[in-house]
Symmetry: C2
Subunit: 288 residues, 2 copies
């Protein structure tokens, strides 16, 4: 068993099975070829060919595209391609920090394969054998990864929220962390992956943060997404990453990154460079 298998699993994506989704000539998503027909039902919005799916040039501006996609999302739900609305809009932009191209309900993001951004927070404190990490057990009724282990705080970035704002919001909701405490978290990098899922694909960038929590802090979930939090030594977390599938798929990547930065995975490991580079996109297929 190895760390690398998780990086490979999170990058299981064959671009040949997908059509590029194009807006004004720029690729903004990936739609599975065998589902392109669902979009051909909206000829005023999409032009479907064997090379790609292009938004109609007449859709002028982010609002027009967003409105059109609202109608399409209804159709995708009726056709069973998308489960349901998540009632949370994600922004699709011209690159990180770039201009808004359109917004899309989170539930339809996998169908369209647009880039999404999230934040993950490693909460740690000194233990007997290096850092101990606060680990959450995801509620059993979560659609994704029910009952699996998770970081102290993790969440997708909704439209209108920045990385740090999302972190503070999720820290309050998921771990009952006072803002004054959560504000001590510091950015430590990002990981990237592109993976096929039953309902489409994910093209994810996760911004990562560390926080050393004080001894009197005990996280408490307030939004029902986490059943329980426990302290686990980072070494034990990494053993489980290597040997089990206890952690949610992308949390394995966050923990490998933590291990690389905190000297728990070392250059003497033959996989060191593939891990360092694989977390930063070297395994990503399908171009930028």
């Amino acid at each position: 068993m190895s760390y690398l298998r998780h990086l490979e699993a999170c990058n299981r994506f064959d671009p040949d099975r997908f059509l590029p989704l194009l807006l004004a000539g720029r690729r903004v998503g990936f739609v599975r070829r065998d589902r392109a027909g669902a979009l051909a039902a909206f000829p005023r919005i999409f032009h479907v060919s064997t090379d790609g799916i292009a938004f109609d040039d007449g859709l002028d501006g982010a609002d027009a595209v967003t409105t059109a996609l609202h109608e399409v999302t209804d159709g995708l739900i009726r056709a069973g391609h998308t489960d349901k609305r998540r009632q949370e809009m994600f922004a699709v932009t011209d690159g990180w920090g770039g201009t808004l191209l359109f917004e899309l309900d989170r539930g339809a993001v996998p169908f369209f394969g647009t880039r999404s951004y999230g934040v993950h927070l490693n909460g740690w404190r000194p233990g007997f054998d290096g850092p101990d990490l606060w680990i959450g057990k995801r509620a059993k009724d979560k659609k994704i990864a029910p009952g699996q282990l998770d970081n102290l705080v993790a969440g997708g970035m909704g439209a209108g929220y920045g990385a740090r704002e999302t972190l503070l919001k999720e820290a309050a909701e998921e771990a009952d962390m006072p803002e004054a405490l959560a504000a001590r978290a510091h950015a430590v990098g990002a990981v990237r992956y592109r993976m096929e899922l039953p309902d489409g694909m994910r093209d994810d960038v996760l911004f990562l943060y560390d926080i050393e929590t004080p001894v009197d802090f005990v996280p408490r979930n307030t939004d029902g997404e986490i059943e329980d939090f426990r302290l686990l030594s980072a070494r034990e977390c990494l053993r489980r990453v290597r040997e089990t599938d206890d952690f949610k798929f992308n949390v394995n990547l966050v923990l490998v990154d933590f291990g690389l930065r905190h000297g728990l995975i070392v250059p003497e490991d033959a996989d060191y460079l593939p891990l360092v580079e694989g977390l930063r996109g070297s395994l990503v297929r399908g171009g930028r």
Copy 2:
């Protein structure tokens, strides 16, 4: 001015100007096309074509290749293509942690463009405004980057030395750091770049380490390579990285990595993802 310009400078490499150096069909280096003729003078060792430079198949094993390259290095020095022997052998391997293919004098490494490995150590302690970093000023008689600023410890990995061994050896030589102190350094990742230089090219991987130094530790150079050490706040270091060329070319990358890991460069910076990915090889040209 930006951080990104340093990553671009360290990855200024046009593979079209180089021929692949091939050993048993595998690329192991890059030689400038206009210098390939220097190797055609050794027809028992090299077969030079317009597609590449191949070692003769009759050279059996690492010792035979190493011995042949000793003779070639003499010729390159006589012809003025290589400055001089550095009297330090670098190992060329089948990937990091892989089997030894041959050894080569460090002075000839740029001519052949073989992969080399080094270590850099960020020595820091808490300051008034985040971490302060120990920064060395390189001696004025250094061939590379004389008088420029450097990390607390940095060095190339000689044949037979591992990453951690190199770190401990260089920490003693460059900063007079007792082994018991240097052993507290922990691995934090790696950066990678490929750049053309007047004497050929560098295909470098730097393994990075951090150490929090105690208040009573003051570095002292013992090998004449560093003129002086000073404490500089990490924020001031990063300002100089952005606005000046005070630091040695690759040290800029190490400091950007430090800034990313310590929350001094944050996701709100529009260049955040190009920086995160660019340090890990996304700008490298010429294949694996």
